[in-house]
Symmetry: C2
Subunit: 300 residues, 2 copies
């Protein structure tokens, strides 16, 4: 078996409410990673601004942009110049009154080569995403995107809790799973609850690596963003960072901390999946004759 080495990087940022500021600081980190030989870079969810879904406010739709809007243009130029693959995240305006939470894959000289519209949309206090984002309606759902560095299974944040999504990407030949996310603590929760939540979030994403014998790359936001509806100083989200890259047995290769703007990167070997799946051939033994009820809401 041949090795197929690839240097992968992740940018973990804090954002403000000015797209240009955010793009500039992202650019600086992208250039640094590219200088280090990183060929594939994942940005966090909605990295062009604040996480605006903490409240339901129609004004925030002003921030949405089209698939060929300023973010796509800006990062395509950068990918072109640096000859890298970038996975970016935008608040997409598809039409008046129709918006998505969308990831774009930009491949070196080729520009945008694919998009993924978030399929699973959360809605709970502080994360009012169902107000803003129509769930993805891809004709053929959970399709990995072919790039010059491999077939990328891009999923977004809340998707991370669904083994179904990871599996469908793997079954379609994804070679790397990538999760741009924006998740954090409610500082009104106690420390034990915060720790349980962080651990659960790491476990579920590492488990997609294990179940599918595949590399997983996760970019999360960092820093505290106060809610527009805050009644006290703690009301907001303390984004917990912890961006990471793990190998096809779920083993952590590199991991960010919970409070720094930083980058992480490491070399991965896409062909390691072949080796891991030979010793643990889970795909061989799936009981596809017995899985029909996975398409049910509940088996009642």
């Amino acid at each position: 078996m041949n090795n197929q080495k690839l240097k992968v990087g992740v940018i973990q940022q804090s954002c403000n409410n000015k797209q240009q500021d955010n793009h500039q600081s992202t650019e600086k980190q992208i250039r640094k990673l590219a200088d280090d030989g990183v060929e594939l870079i994942l940005l966090q969810e909605l990295h062009s601004g604040l996480y605006f879904c903490q409240t339901e406010n129609t004004d925030h739709f002003d921030q949405a942009e089209t698939l060929d809007g300023p973010s796509a243009v800006f990062f395509s130029q950068l990918a072109f110049e640096l000859n890298i693959v970038l996975v970016i995240s935008i608040f997409e305006k598809r039409s008046a009154g129709l918006y998505h939470n969308t990831a774009l894959v930009i491949d070196k000289q080729q520009g945008v080569v694919g998009k993924y519209r978030k399929m699973h949309i959360p809605d709970d206090p502080g994360f009012y995403e169902k107000f803003y984002f129509t769930p993805g309606d891809h004709q053929d759902p959970f399709l990995p995107i072919q790039t010059s560095v491999g077939k990328l299974g891009v999923l977004i944040c809340w998707d991370q809790w669904y083994p179904e999504a990871a599996r469908l990407m793997a079954l379609k030949g994804a070679e790397i799973l990538l999760y741009p996310t924006a998740i954090g603590w409610d500082l009104n929760d106690d420390k034990q609850e915060q720790q349980r939540q962080l651990n659960a979030w790491k476990i579920i994403q590492q488990s997609h690596a294990v179940a599918n014998g595949i590399v997983v790359v996760v970019a999360n936001r960092v820093g505290f963003e106060k809610s527009e509806a805050a009644l006290n100083d703690n009301d907001g989200i303390s984004f917990w960072g912890n961006s990471f890259i793990c190998g096809p047995q779920g083993e952590l290769l590199v991991q960010a901390d919970d409070n720094s703007k930083m980058t992480i990167s490491c070399e991965i070997d896409i062909n390691k999946s072949e080796q891991v799946r030979r010793i643990w051939p889970f795909l061989r033994d799936r009981r596809i004759d017995a899985y029909d009820d996975l398409s049910k809401r509940f088996r009642d």
Copy 2:
């Protein structure tokens, strides 16, 4: 919400080739746990003997027993006397030439109230289970078993690697997932590989707790069993123990070590699932309109 407390125990054992010996030592541990107020006890996979699947040997079919054979009788008497729920594991003879790897659920005074025949059957060097076990052919697959202490989603060993199995149990109302297993290290692997395998095994099972907001109970075998086909002293399986119980966020509640015959137990609250699923309502947002391909072998 009411609490619904339940004390759960797990027995992590080494075995020899004499069923009576093994049953006696299991009985001793069961009595100890029952004395401590444990109401639900999980035994490890194939706890009546050695893990015989290290080679393919037709003589081993002599060890198989019927659903009402000596193991069912022995443990039913014990469950009756101690007024507890027991999940046991047998090498089941269903007919001449037709054998299963089967778990039985024994409920206090009621005797055996349900069975589960392992659905996903491994086959790799040292684990030649496809030779011995016909995969489960339940009419309605992945059905939890109702008992006086709750609805038990019993799965067995290799099943643990499949998020599909855990999900189907949860969708049918399982309140606890239970995994009797027999997994260990090949001492010819290096320490890093051994650690990756153990961690992967913990992660994937904790992830079923996370994905489904449900308690997971795992019993694993411990100790080294030399292969009948050993060419050197290392040829065999060093079962890695690490039996554990985790809560519905995947948080470890109690965990055994990797080399001791021991019991673990703790109190769980089945209603915690309700609370956890309210803050992380993953079942609400499954994209059942987009999951059809989970019933395909591969999406090619």
